[in-house]
C-alpha cells in the first residue's frame, strides 16, 4: 500500500493513531502535504458516502471525522505559516435561541471542519445577534442555523429578517437544519438551503459556495 492509500485506510478505519502517525511522517519525511491532505479528504468524503448508503453507522463516520481532525491538527501550524491556505470557507454555526438541542448541529460542525471549512461553533441556545456579530467578525461566508422544534424554527426567520434590516443578507449564505424544516419553510423565509443530515450539509455548503 502506498502513502496515499495508507492515509485513506486510516480515515476509513477511524484509526486515529495511524492518521496522526501518517501526518507526522508527511512532515518529517517532507512528503508533499497536499498529497496527504487530498488523500485524507477523499477518504472522509468516502466515509460520508458510506454512511449515506447505509454501509457505515454514525459512530463509524464520527470515528473517521475524529481521525481526520487528528491529522489536520498536525498540519495546522504548517498550513497557517505558508501560502498553503486550504480553508474552503468560513462557517458560523449554532442552534437558535430557546433551543438546547445540540447534537445534530455538532455533527454538522465536525464534518464541515473535517472537510476543510473553518468552523465557528457557537453552541446551543444562541441569540440572533450573536450569530450575526460572529459572522461579521470572522468574515464568514456561511451561517448555519439549527432548530429542532416548531416553536424555535421561527428564530431562523427572525435571523434572516434581521440580516435584511442590517443590509447584510447578501453577505452570507444561510443554511438551515433541524427535524421540522421543510423545503416550503426554506422558501418562505428566504434561506439558501437546508440539509437532512450532516453529510448533505457538507455537500450543500460546498454547493452554495460553488466549490
Amino acid at each position: 500500500m502506498n502513502f496515499a492509500e495508507n492515509c485513506k485506510e486510516s480515515i476509513l478505519n477511524g484509526d486515529i493513531e495511524l492518521a496522526k502517525k501518517l501526518a507526522d511522517k508527511a512532515i518529517s519525511e517532507k512528503i508533499d502535504i497536499d498529497l496527504a491532505i487530498d488523500a485524507f479528504s477523499l477518504a472522509i468524503r468516502e466515509a460520508g458516502d458510506l454512511f449515506e448508503e447505509g454501509e457505515f453507522f454514525l459512530p463509524e463516520l464520527m470515528r473517521s471525522a475524529e481521525a481526520m481532525k487528528a491529522a489536520m491538527t498536525i498540519f495546522e501550524p504548517i498550513l497557517k505559516e505558508g501560502k498553503e491556505d486550504r480553508i474552503l470557507g468560513k462557517v458560523v454555526i449554532g442552534t437558535i435561541e430557546g433551543d438546547i438541542h445540540d447534537i445534530g448541529k455538532t455533527l454538522v460542525a465536525a464534518l464541515l471542519s473535517a472537510e476543510g471549512f473553518e468552523v465557528h461553533d457557537l453552541g446551543a441556545d444562541v441569540p440572533i445577534n450573536t450569530f450575526i456579530d460572529k459572522a461579521v467578525e470572522v468574515d464568514a461566508q456561511i451561517i448555519c442555523i439549527s432548530a429542532l422544534l416548531t416553536t424555535t424554527m421561527v428564530g431562523q426567520k427572525k435571523l434572516i429578517n434581521q440580516l435584511k434590516e442590517k443590509k447584510l443578507r447578501d453577505k452570507f449564505k444561510i443554511l438551515i437544519g433541524g427535524a421540522p424544516i421543510s423545503k416550503k419553510w426554506v422558501e418562505e423565509i428566504g434561506a439558501d438551503g437546508s440539509a437532512e443530515n450532516a453529510i448533505s450539509a457538507v455537500k450543500l455548503a460546498r454547493e452554495v459556495l460553488g466549490i
Partner: protein
Amino acid sequence: MLKVNKLRVLEDIQIKLDGNEILRLLQNKQSDKDMKKPSEKMIKEIEEMKKLAQTLIKPRGIFKIFDSKNLKPKFLFKKSDITVFAICTISKDLENLSKDYLKRGQLAKGVILDAIASHAAEQTAEEVNQTILNMLSDTIQEKEVSCRFSPGYCQWELDKGQKQIFSLLDSEKISVSLSSSMMMNPVKSVSFAINIGEEVDKELGIRGCENCDMINCAYRRVK
C-alpha cells in the same frame, strides 16, 4: 379506581436497553438499504457504552388522571371518559456525559450515548405507560385504551399540549422543566396522554410515521 386529580410519582422503574434499537437510531434513516450487520468492534463499543449509561439512567415519572370532558382540544378527548397525563424522564446525567464527549471531540462515544439516552427515554415512557395501565386495571376492564400520544403529534399542537400538561402536573417532583419554547429539560424526557373510555380511538398514538410529514424525526420508522 384511582382517584382523579391526584398526582402520583413513579420512582422504581426498570427499563431494558435493546442493542438493535440503539443501532437503528445510529443508522442513516434516509438510506434505502436494510440495516447492515454491525462489526464486532461496533457491538463491543455499544455494549461498553450501555454499561456506562446504565449507571447514569434514573427513570422517573409522574401522572394524574383527569375527567376527559374538562380537557381541550375537544377532538382529542371527546370520545374518552378519563385521560391520563404523564411526564417521565431519565434525568440529566447521561445527556450531560454525551455532551461532554462531543465537546471533547470524542464524537463516536458522544453519538452512541445520545442514541442510548433517546432509546432509554422511549423505554421509560413505555414502562410508565404500562405501569399506569396496570394500576388502572380495574377501571379499564371492558373499556378501550388509546396508545400514548404526545404534544406535537396527532394534530395536538406542541405549545398548547405542553402548556396544558405542565400546568396540570407538578413536574418539579421529577426535576423536569419546560422552557418558553416548550422544550423539556432534561431533553431526554417524554410527556404524553392516554385516553380511556367506551369507544376511544385506540390507534391515536400510533397513527404516526406513514402519514407524518416530519421526515427527519429521530424516531421515524419508515423510509
